[in-house]
């Protein structure tokens, strides 16, 4: 970051973003975990592929903390390819020639769904901190309303990594009859103290930036870019692994032969992180970052079920009908394998149908977004097995007929 004051990046004009949007909760506001109501509100979403005649081939993709619904599209702000092109698309494990893929921007987000950067109809100004605090369950409630709106009774699969995986778990627990298969990836049933701690560092970085202005920056034509960039830098380290950082950067210097005995970005890893921070602020709203990290912090599925996770998978005292496939990555220290294993143990205790694979990789938490052939083969195999059980085997023929 240069020493001079950066120019203020204009907020994203979400009204002009590509994609679909729907107004929900108009006749009846949606109750939130906090006790407040939200409604009417907007959900921005994208769909790929074709819904079959009996509406049985829908796959909901849930995005992570800083993701959005542009799974396959070139990102309208950054111009980068869709965030999960490796996993979703024609011929990919989540094959858009077979499945009708839906992904929505979470509520509280900043890419078109109602969130702190959107206009509060009551005041005609951005919500800012007047936006109610939301939870993972609230995000899923909003997605359920979207799925109802699309006339889909049961999703063939819900899939997502990290915070997306939390939503997958919440879907399976809140609406077990509406989910045939659940694929929670690199996630946990509870947000750990260490993860809350990292989120708090990020939030404090944002709130310590004077440009945050008590959360009112949008009304004042300001933006806490420095704070948000620092938050992103800290978080980005947690998405990688020591091995991956060493492999990528080591102690290599950035465009120089020697260290400069100063605080410029001497090391490549510093330069890389600064770039990550700066490019993030173009596409993300600082208050959204506060709200969404908070939603993850509050996630504790066991606590919602009398302290025993197994109860979450025993709706009405019976084994959940949902088929699960959990995946973790060996070098992920943000959502380590033991978190997935704890979920597997609870599912076993409920005698649920579950597959679980740990993928060997040094790429850390971010591995779920990257080219990991073994991981993709597992998802493909699991989905094909489920499609067979669900009777979706002739999808390709049905679609082309």
């Amino acid at each position: 970051m240069s020493a001079s004051k950066p120019s203020v990046i204009a907020p994203i004009d979400t009204a002009s973003l590509p994609g679909k949007r729907v107004r929900l909760g108009a006749d009846r506001p949606m109750p939130l975990d906090s006790g407040l109501d939200l409604g009417p509100f907007t959900v921005a979403y994208q769909t790929y592929g074709t819904l079959n005649a009996d509406r049985s081939n829908a796959v909901l993709v849930c995005h992570a903390l800083t993701g959005d619904h542009y799974v396959l599209d070139r990102h309208p702000v950054t111009g980068k390819p869709g965030w999960w092109e490796q996993m979703v698309g024609p011929g990919r494990p989540v094959d858009t020639e077979r499945y009708f893929v839906i992904c929505s921007n979470v509520i509280g987000g900043c890419m078109g769904s109602t969130g702190p950067a959107e206009t509060d109809p009551a005041t005609a100004k951005p919500y800012g901190l007047n936006f109610p605090v939301i939870t993972i369950a609230d995000m899923v409630r909003a997605q359920k309303l979207l799925i109802d709106h699309l006339g889909i009774e049961q999703l063939f699969a819900v899939i997502g990594g990290s915070m997306g995986g939390m939503q997958v778990l919440q879907w399976a627990v809140s609406y077990p009859e509406a989910v045939y298969a659940a694929i929670p990836i690199a996630t946990a049933s509870i947000h750990s103290a260490q993860n809350i701690a990292f989120h708090e560092v990020g939030r404090q970085a944002i709130m310590a930036d004077p440009e945050w202005a008590g959360g009112d920056y949008l009304n004042q034509g300001r933006r806490p870019q420095r704070g948000l960039a620092v938050a992103r830098m800290a978080a980005h380290i947690t998405y990688l692994s020591e091995t991956a950082l060493h492999r990528k950067f080591g102690r290599n210097l950035q465009d120089r032969a020697n260290v400069t005995y100063g605080f410029d970005a001497d090391f490549q890893v510093e330069s890389y992180l600064r770039h990550q921070g700066i490019s993030f602020v173009e596409r993300f709203d600082a208050n959204s970052y506060l709200y969404i990290t908070r939603a993850m912090d509050y996630f504790d599925l066991a606590a919602d079920h009398g302290g025993a996770l197994v109860n979450a998978f025993l709706p009405n005292g019976k084994t959940t009908p949902v088929r699960f496939c959990l995946v973790s990555f060996s070098s992920d220290w943000l959502f380590p394998t033991r978190e997935s294993r704890a979920i597997v143990h609870a599912l076993n205790a409920a005698a649920a149908n579950v597959s679980f694979v740990e993928v060997e990789t040094d790429k850390g938490h971010d591995a779920f977004l990257l080219d990991e052939p073994e991981f993709h083969q597992v998802i493909r195999g699991f989905l094909e097995g489920c499609a067979e059980h669900r009777g979706l085997t002739n999808l390709r023929r049905a679609r082309t007929a």
């Binding site: 088929r323 205790a349 005698a351 149908n353 597959s355 694979v357 073994e374 097995g385």
Partner: protein, 217 residues
């Protein structure tokens, strides 16, 4: 992978589940169609795949080795990576119609505890193991004075994962002690032919391996 064989190749690509190892086939024949089954140490999923497709079984698996787990899940089988000795306690009692432990009992740290778990979580348990009372094994020990190494048990003593060998007579004793009743017995020779349905002295001498259908008394 069972601990008796070298790493096996994956399913032979013909997609014909009918081609399974004879000893697995004998296990499969004990299973009622449409039942719910847990295969412990399911390896690359041969038995599960066969039972799922040929007998419409709701099959699950636990496998210690990640390679096997990956192969299974890629085939659409419901398999988790886990350790039978620590993970079986999670399952509720009577969760499965059958729990299968194929050629793995002798590699367990606590075979007795595992056996008790099998008959707790399964209405039936199917256990197969190599018989250390087999005459060729007895002969090796008697004539050569060395730990037996056979075609099926191809490990030297210092490398074998099989730490708790037993004979058919020993196993029958353990079942009695644990309150486990034996519903069916199959004694196999070296060519996986069934040579007896009893577990007496002769079976203990002639059987290279044994398959038992068990139930908690």
């Amino acid at each position: 992978m069972t601990v008796l064989e070298a790493p096996s190749s994956t399913r032979n690509g013909t997609g014909r589940p009918a081609d399974i190892r004879i000893d697995l086939r004998l296990v499969a024949d004990m299973v009622e169609p449409g039942s719910r089954l847990l295969d412990i140490g399911c390896g690359d999923g041969q038995l599960l795949y066969y039972l799922t497709h040929e007998k419409n079984v709701d099959g699950r698996g636990i496998e210690l080795g990640m390679d096997g787990v990956h192969r299974c899940v890629k085939q659409g089988l419901s398999v988790i990576q886990g350790d039978a000795e620590t993970d079986l306690k999670d399952y509720p009692s009577g969760a499965f119609d059958y729990v299968v432990l194929g050629q793995t009992l002798q590699a367990m740290r606590e075979p007795r505890a595992v056996l008790e778990q099998l008959v707790r979580i399964g209405k039936h348990a199917i256990v197969s193991f190599p018989n250390f009372g087999y005459w060729r094994i007895r002969m090796q020990l008697l004539l050569q004075g060395r730990m037996p190494v056979t075609q099926r048990l191809g490990y030297q003593w210092w490398e074998t994962p099989n730490i708790h060998f037993c004979t058919i007579a020993d196993f029958v004793d353990l079942c009695r002690q644990c309150g486990v009743s034996i519903e069916r017995t199959m004694i196999l020779d070296r060519a996986d032919r069934v040579v007896s349905h009893k577990h007496g002295r002769l079976a203990n001498l002639l059987g290279e391996q044994a398959v038992f259908l068990l139930k908690r008394r």
